[in-house]
Amino acid sequence: MSNKVLVTATINDEEMSFVCEPRQSLLEVLRDVLNLTGVKEGCNNGNCGACAVILNGVLVNSCLVLGVEINGATVTTIEGITPKEGLHPLQQKFLEDAALQCGICTPGFIVAAKALLDKNPNPTEHEVRYWLAGNLCRCTGYDKIVRAVLDAAEVMRAEKQPV
């Protein structure tokens, strides 16, 4: 049964049109249709946060959104956070602070942390931990991730200061 639907959305600042079946999740569409494979599938039921994206400015799990639901919407994935050259401060600090091992959870953590810092550039450690409670990491034990987010926030605040 093919009842494919045409969807148009702004993904990582680029207007894109694609066709998908209503039963395909946004996660499947991003990975399998649009080849944005930075977004990861972990649990596929909303528990782990590996598939986090920013949808119309709001952090969501892309496994719990249908591809057809994003018609007319704006989506940011890890690919959209990565600058054309070099790394985003969050990515840089995840590397420097050794905040990853296997890396499957990392795009979700960085997207979630980006959504936090967009809203709150100077979060407390408690706020970072609470915000990231929906992202699971089975390697690091979280402390290095929280440290990396706080360090990146500091870098990003300094970058915004007028010289």
Partner: protein, 291 residues
Amino acid sequence: MQAFSYVPARTISEAAEILAREGDQAKCLSGGTDLIVFLREGRRSAKVVVDVKGIPELNQLSYSPKEGLTIGAAVPCHRIYNNAQIAAAYPGLIDAVTLIGGTAIQGRATLGGNVCTASPAGDSIPVLIAYEATCIVASRSVTKAIPLEKFFLGPGRTVLQPSELLVALKLPPPRPGTGAAYLRFIPRNEMDIAVTSAGVAVVLDESKTHFVGARIALGAVAPTPLFVPEAGAALAGRPVSDEAIEAAAQAARAAARPITDMRGSAEQRKHLSYVLTRRALWKAVERAKSA
């Protein structure tokens, strides 16, 4: 996932038409944090998924001290707790919407969905019952109001007919002297399903020394969220005191009829009904006094 067709409905009547035609093979989609998982796992089936997020009435979030609070069935949690006026007027509701899932779930999950999923452990439900929430339900021909405590029939089952959809939840304006709270017991700090929970709302008199009345509801201790009117009645007219709150908490424990499952034993849940009711009542009293 099973194949279905997708209709982004723009009006209540458009959605109601499809529900009337397709019956239980049409499913309303709001946040999708339950429905998409249910469809994927085969726990529900659908020929048509009706996206109700584009219907203005289901997206409405409005509060006034005169009219109270209207929460459209498709309003996600984050819109509720990011509204300072609502957060100030209904702190007990904020307790619930800030602990449903994690940030990414709160960005999508709706109270309408939480109510329609009808889990006995649904985190928004006990405190909504305490706040006297009413369900506004529409079909092709009729719109009706149902008190939330009368909405549930069993796990996953409600009075909602296949041809009906939930439009909104309406909460009356808090009376002067109101305080409310929601507490949940889980084995970790975030992201888990309630072992037991308690939602309470109290009204204190002008001197804030006596209870005028109270409403208390429990989660995960019965086949449905459980309204316990006798626990509230144990407080009416009594001084704000350990004795009165002890009596209400004991009434909550007596009313709980939990099962033993992977999350906790019946005995533990009975005990938690007592402890959480007592603690939630004190928290509600503090809020009523400082309001």
